[in-house]
């Protein structure tokens, strides 16, 4: 075991982690621990753009953006946070441009903007061009630009270091962050990083679904590490299903395709979104479009021999426009489906895409211990966190925005905290939990396989807690997850070595997914209403009287060692927008 000391430690090197690192490195001695090489993060898979009311191509202002974000989130958004997001969006985009990001340009040389789902002029009147973009690889360009600037600033990376535990020490009755414990993939060595402040920026949890746009590595490691140490997880029942994933594979096809004029059609060729969202049509918010697609499929208007998908039609758009604005996604259709999007529609289905919930933070990125108390020295930003700016459903282009605005804020806040506070003592034997976990898995001789349990988990999640949920389906999922958790104790791995043991890491990741899937299902079971991405067929309406509140899930361990989930609730911050019925 090695012990390292840094002022600030950042967990994860995607957009939020590197944006934080650029700020933190200027102000404090900073280390970035990342399980992947920095440019491998799934931020790079984001396509369509980053919202900001620059008003470069038509009238727009950040107040409209704030409203759209709150309405898009079905009023579960904390409105003070949404206001910050929309207001600071403008500088966040300009910062990236100054760092070198090659945005597409207007004829007069300013940053070009395009339409995106749920973004409107004047509180829902009509779609507005708010998304700043670089072809259909905006996430790729953000990731590259941030890494380039990390190179420029001399950010110190620990690549392929996998953080497995969050250390918390109680000082005078206050729980404070003391550092993290990491596993070095190359050698199998365990490292303790003592740090004055820690920022989690480790991304989402999408791999507990089968059809997902998420990378194999998105296994909720940061959420799980904090949750196991008694910290709450907020709004985990809210998961976004992106309407246009490649049929069966789940690979993302950007909403920008519809922003450029693409149309969804059922087997009769009908533009069915006109029925569900007369004003915004194909550019309604993602939860609305995904439900509409599955309604078409369930009512027998799906495409193909099994009637299990619909079409994204781009054939009426000029090939030059597709080449210039959507080169990557048209190539995905050619590579993975053998389809030419110039002439043929693309089969799509909703794909598990984004966790609205996560580690609760305030607007400075400080992690919450309960509804109001912060954990001094602990921060989170990006998809791992829940500020909450996305509420019950995130708008497209608001995640690239979130990582930049709150990555920067948490980087500055954590480094300032490091500058004015001392190290907290490490707990006694700080690596013990991780050492025990790793040794147990290495020596286990049980007869269960990681791949089998993961497959069954993904299947039950797709079948039971996806776009449509009922009490019955969620209970089925909870029961199945419980059974899988029990079987997980009996899991064994084949690779017993220390060098690049990815077999071991996949086993650990599965443990994280199981914990988080259970939190998600239990949170969903208790929310007896429909709101944003959480749709209950047995409770099809939003219930502001009983459920205008954030779910806070805590892990409880009984005296006999038994584990359970305790649910609590936190009020939503409302400033100027009263909840209204949501129509697009």
């Amino acid at each position: 075991m090695k012990i390292h000391k840094y002022d600030t430690v950042i967990v994860g090197a995607g957009g939020a982690g590197m944006r934080a690192a650029i700020e933190a490195t200027k102000r404090s001695r900073t280390a970035v621990l990342t399980k992947l090489y920095p440019t491998r993060s799934h931020t790079g898979a984001a396509q369509g753009g980053m919202a900001a009311a620059l008003a470069n191509v038509e009238e727009d202002n950040w107040e409209w953006h704030t409203f759209d974000t709150i309405k898009g989130g079905d009023y579960l958004v904390d409105q003070d946070a949404a206001e910050i997001l929309a207001k600071e969006a403008i500088d966040a985009v300009l910062d990236l441009e100054k760092m070198g990001l090659p945005f597409n340009r207007t004829p007069n040389g300013t940053i070009d903007q395009r339409r995106f789902g749920g973004h409107s002029r004047n509180h829902g009147e009509a779609p507005v061009r708010r998304s700043c973009y670089a072809a259909d690889r905006t996430g790729h360009m953000i990731l590259q630009t941030l890494y380039q600037n990390c190179v420029k600033e001399g950010v110190e990376f620990f690549n392929e270091f996998y953080v497995l535990d969050q250390l918390i020490t109680e000082v005078d009755g206050v729980k404070k962050s003391a550092g993290v414990v990491a596993y070095e993939l190359a050698t199998g060595e365990i490292h303790v990083f003592q740090a004055k402040s820690v920022i989690y920026a480790s991304g989402g949890t999408g791999k507990f679904f089968k059809v997902t746009s998420n990378a194999h590595t998105l296994t909720g490691d940061g959420q799980a590490a904090c949750y196991r140490r008694g910290l709450p997880l907020e709004d985990m029942e809210f998961f976004q299903f992106h309407p246009t994933g490649i049929w069966r594979m789940g690979i993302l096809l950007t909403e920008g395709a519809r922003g450029e004029g693409g149309i969804l059609r059922n087997k009769d060729g009908e533009r069915f979104m006109e029925k569900y969202a007369p004003v915004m049509k194909d550019l309604a918010s993602r939860d609305v479009v995904s439900r509409s697609i599955y309604t078409e499929i369930r009512e027998g208007r799906g495409c193909g021999p099994e009637g299990d998908h619909v079409y994204l039609d781009l054939t009426h758009l000029p090939p030059e426009q597709l080449d210039a604005k959507l080169p990557d996604i048209t190539e995905f259709a050619r590579t993975y489906l053998g389809i030419e999007p110039y002439t043929d529609p693309i089969p799509i289905q909703p794909t598990a895409h984004y966790a609205m919930g996560g580690i609760p933070t305030n607007v400075q990125g400080e992690v919450l211990l309960d509804n109001t108390t912060v954990v001094p020295g602990l921060y989170a930003a990006g998809e791992v966190a829940c500020v909450s700016v996305h509420g019950a459903n995130r708008l497209g282009t608001n995640s690239l925005l979130d990582i930049n605005v709150f990555g920067k804020r948490s980087g500055i806040a954590a480094a300032e905290y490091s500058a004015s506070n001392d190290y907290v003592d490490l707990p006694e034997d700080p690596a013990s939990l991780v050492e025990a976990q790793v040794e147990r898995l290495r020596e286990a001789t049980g007869n269960e396989r990681v791949a089998d349990i993961r497959r069954e988990l993904q299947e039950t999640m797709d079948a039971n807690v996806m776009v449509f949920r009922t009490e019955q389906t969620i209970k089925t999922a909870v029961e199945k997850i419980g059974e899988l958790r029990a079987r997980y104790l009996n899991v064994s791995i084949q690779d017993k070595g220390r060098r690049f043991n990815t077999d071991l890491l996949e086993a650990i990741e599965l443990g994280n997914l199981l914990d988080l899937a259970e939190v998600m299902a239990v949170s969903a079971l208790a929310r007896k209403e429909s709101r944003g991405g959480h749709y209950r067929e047995d409770y099809p309406n939003r219930d502001d009287v009983n459920f205008m509140r954030h779910t806070m899930a805590y892990r409880e361990v009984g005296d006999d060692g038994s584990e359970s989930i305790r649910l609590d609730y936190k009020p939503v911050v409302q400033t100027r927008y009263q909840p209204m019925e949501r129509k697009y």
Partner: protein, 252 residues
């Protein structure tokens, strides 16, 4: 009713899409042996699946010790460049049906970088070459309050080289790099090109001097392996030629 699940539909369709394919994989684990060996795995797979899906089937159902890097699985993250049937490609962007699955599919680590275990190589020399070309925007004077202006034509000038995902498929396909690891390699030059030809940047001269080095662009022998290998379709050799021309004319 729950959301429709696709597997049911799959099970109902009549003819099985699966065929038997042999993966011949270069294995190396210094914890076990100093020598690398070929190992064959025969698996059932739908030919429309990716080579990466095949590797996962082996790792998950047959041999958990098989080790490789991967993340996004659709050609964006750059983790899984490997030598497949003798050619550098991304395992997640190569479909089985495009490889003649009648014969064994050979999978080896990319060349010119030290193999650490199975298909995993040491990427550090590759990233060091990248860092050495100053891969970031350099500007002088006061920052404007709004964005810097750039015409659509000026933006288009370096569009191709902004697509790079740093997967190392190009660099590790280059015979010059195989023979001399000191050569910057195509990927580093591509990333220098991305800034040299960016109208906003003011450090083009410095980058050109870095690439004028004995291990710089002049080592390129225009074999086009890099262009063939690039999974993003970047015209790598053309970019290197443009940097060479800029060094001669000092115009960019």
């Amino acid at each position: 009713m729950a959301t429709p699940v696709l597997d049911k539909a799959e099970a109902e369709s009549s003819a099985s899409p699966y065929i038997t394919v042999t993966f011949r994989i270069r294995r190396f684990n210094p914890e076990v042996s100093e020598d690398a060996v070929w190992e064959d795995f025969a698996i059932e797979i739908d030919p429309k699946e990716r080579v990466l899906d095949g590797l996962h089937k082996i790792k998950w159902d047959v041999d958990g010790t098989l080790t490789f890097r991967r993340s996004c699985a659709h050609g964006i993250c750059g983790s899984d460049a490997m030598r497949i049937n003798g050619k550098n490609r991304l395992a997640c962007k190569t479909l089985i049906k495009d490889l003649n699955p009648e014969k064994p599919i050979t999978v080896e680590p990319i060349k010119g970088l030290t193999v650490l275990k199975d298909l995993i190589v040491d990427m550090e020399p590759f990233f060091q070459a990248y860092r050495d070309v100053m891969p970031f925007l350099v500007t002088k004077g006061n920052e404007p309050t709004r964005e810097r202006l750039q015409s659509a034509e000026d933006r288009e000038r370096f569009d191709d080289t902004t697509k790079c995902i740093l997967c190392a498929a190009c660099t590790s396909s280059c015979p010059v790099f195989w023979n001399d690891g000191q050569y910057f390699g195509p990927a580093a030059i591509v990333n220098a090109h991305r800034f040299i030809f960016d109208s906003r940047d003011e450090a083009g001269e410095q980058r050109l001097e870095i690439l004028n080095d004995k291990d710089g662009v002049w080592r390129c022998r225009t074999t086009f392996n890099c262009t063939d290998a690039c999974p993003r379709g970047i015209e790598v050799t053309k970019a290197i030629q443009e940097v060479k021309r800029a060094l001669i004319t000092r115009r960019f």
